[in-house]
């Protein structure tokens, strides 16, 4: 199993690690039993633009790298745009992931969606999107 240089770069120098106090949107996905938890914090302005984004992740190299890349990809975009982020886009931006690590990118997509859902809930907007990625994760054995 080999990680791309991009994955290693995002793992060794993760972007946007940390917490945002009183963030408008906070999402947590995954569970410790499976070995991955991602927590995503969103700072959103009155125009629905994600002005800041931070994450904390418990997991492998790919879990940390996909979280980092996801924050990069949504920062400065509107929440609507953030909702269009797919795990595939995260994988491509990282120049690929080993097959057994694809689920990490799914988790990254779902972390963003979970944080946006939290924001919608807080401002009383109906959650009109699927919180789960529609990517079928390849069978893991």
């Amino acid at each position: 199993m080999q990680y791309s240089e991009k994955v290693m770069d995002h793992f060794m120098h993760p972007r946007n690690v940390g917490e945002i106090e009183n963030a408008q949107g906070v999402g947590v996905v995954g569970n410790a039993k499976c070995g991955d938890i991602m927590k995503m914090y969103l700072e959103i302005d009155e125009n629905d633009v994600i002005t800041d984004c931070k994450f904390k992740t418990f997991g492998c190299g790919a879990a940390i790298a996909t979280s980092s890349m996801a924050t990069e990809l949504i920062k400065g975009h509107t929440v609507k745009e953030a909702l269009t982020l797919t795990n595939k886009a995260v994988v491509e931006a990282l120049d690929g992931l080993p097959p057994v690590k694809i689920h990490c990118s799914v988790l990254a997509e779902e972390a963003v969606k979970s944080a946006v859902a939290d924001y919608y809930k807080k401002i009383g907007r109906p959650i009109d999107f699927n919180m789960e990625s529609d990517t079928v994760v390849p069978e893991e054995k």
């Binding site: 793992f11 410790a32 070995g35 418990f58 190299g61 790919a62 057994v100």
Partner: protein
């Protein structure tokens, strides 16, 4: 990178200079087939016989009890399948093993289950020592074979093989021990230890990969796994790998000579254990004292093993983990689960396996580099955040 420290000797070891030197003539001049009757063949046969005799001397067994194989996994497969198939004729269709065996043993047992054999997987205590009451209760007059590893590859716990052998023999069952991790790390005298079969692998003790051995005690009969030419007294086909067999003989002799040096290795191990378990929310996996001299396995809460390995690798430290994420299976180590480590904690284990080549400076270096790596990963872990918050609230 300030330094390079190889602390993954349980995975494999480098071929030592003396082993390499011993093997060289077998590539240059002694390249004959020992089955050939001509000069070249007889020359090779002599070298083969000599290697076998030297290995027998190391273990205090007979040369005709030594069978060369391609690896530890082949030896394990042969011992278990060969014994099961042979004992079936005597109405014995039950195998007793443990939950912490290597996959070469576990999956072989599972394959036999598909053929209709029944297998009891005996549990272990929190230190990884086989539960003897459970084992005694499992062995009966239907038991063909008891297969228990000499020492565990992940947590280093050494099992009471002599005692287990007595239990197996009292019930008329054969006793096999997978000693792949133990050979070279604990003294083994096969004139004292009454096991019927013992497997080992060359590359764990500075011989090359691709050479293994199965000891089968005289008078013990098991079915063949590999049929072919008449090699290994018609028990294992395949032209003998003379260079690697010579390498294995040399490696075993050197390992035996170096046994006294293992006290020094164990002292370094203890220093590692002491230093690493000073890190808060960490725990030693495996028995504190009854463990292989080179094995350290520590679990760190709230972080995941693969990311720990990658960061340590960046510092020049080669280690290993029982985390699911480091494997292709995504299942955490069955050994850690068997000793009662919960799933979420099993992901954060670090195995360091040192050898006589490890120095005190290497230990200092590991002890300097691991704590900041753990701290760095905890800093970005949401689980650690929860631990910190609950501490503040207490």
């Amino acid at each position: 990178m300030d330094r390079f420290v190889y602390a993954d000797n349980a995975a494999t070891t480098p071929v030592s200079a003396e082993v390499f030197e011993a093997m060289k003539p077998c590539f240059e001049t002694v390249w004959g087939n020992p089955s050939s009757l001509h000069t070249k063949g007889r020359e090779a046969k002599k070298v083969l016989d000599d290697a076998r005799a030297r290995i027998a001397n190391v273990f205090s067994c007979r040369p005709d009890e030594v069978y060369f194989t391609s690896c530890g996994s082949e030896s394990d497969n042969w011992a278990i399948k060969g014994a099961a198939h042979r004992m079936k004729a005597k109405g014995r269709t039950h195998i007793v093993t443990t939950k912490i065996e290597h996959h070469a043993v576990l999956y072989t047992c599972q394959a036999l289950e598909k053929e209709g054999f029944t297998v009891t997987y005996v549990g272990v205590d929190g230190d990884g020592v086989v539960n003897m009451d459970e084992l005694k209760a499992a062995v009966d007059d239907k038991t063909a074979l008891v297969a228990v590893m000499y020492a565990n590859n992940e947590i280093g716990t050494v099992e009471p093989i002599a005692e287990i052998t007595e239990i197996a023999h009292a019930a008329g069952a054969l006793m096999f021990t997978d000693a792949v991790q133990a050979v070279g790390n604990v003294p083994i005298d096969l004139s004292q230890l009454k096991v019927d079969m013992l497997s080992l692998s060359g590359h764990k003790l500075h011989a090359p990969k691709g050479i293994g051995m199965l000891f089968i005690r005289k008078g013990v009969f098991i079915d063949n796994l590999i049929d072919g030419g008449g090699q290994e007294r018609r028990k294992r086909g395949g032209t003998e790998n003379i260079p690697y067999i010579v390498g294995l003989a040399k490696a075993l002799e050197v390992a035996k000579e170096q046994l006294p040096d293992l006290t020094r290795v164990a002292a370094m191990r203890d220093r590692l254990i002491e230093g690493l378990t000073k890190i808060p929310y960490s725990k030693l996996n495996g028995h504190r004292t009854n463990r292989l001299p080179g094995n350290v396995n520590v679990g760190f809460e709230c972080i995941e093993g693969e990311s720990m390995l990658l960061l340590l690798d960046m510092e020049g430290i080669c280690a290993s983990t029982g985390s699911a994420c480091s494997s292709e299976s995504l299942e955490p180590s069955h050994v850690l689960l068997a000793i009662g480590v919960p799933h979420e904690k099993a992901h954060g284990s670090l195995r360091l396996s040192i050898s006589h080549e490890t120095t005190d400076a290497d230990i200092d270096y590991i002890l300097e580099k691991v704590p900041p790596v753990v701290a760095r990963l905890r800093d970005m872990s949401p689980l650690w955040e929860n631990v910190q918050k609950s501490n503040v609230n207490q």
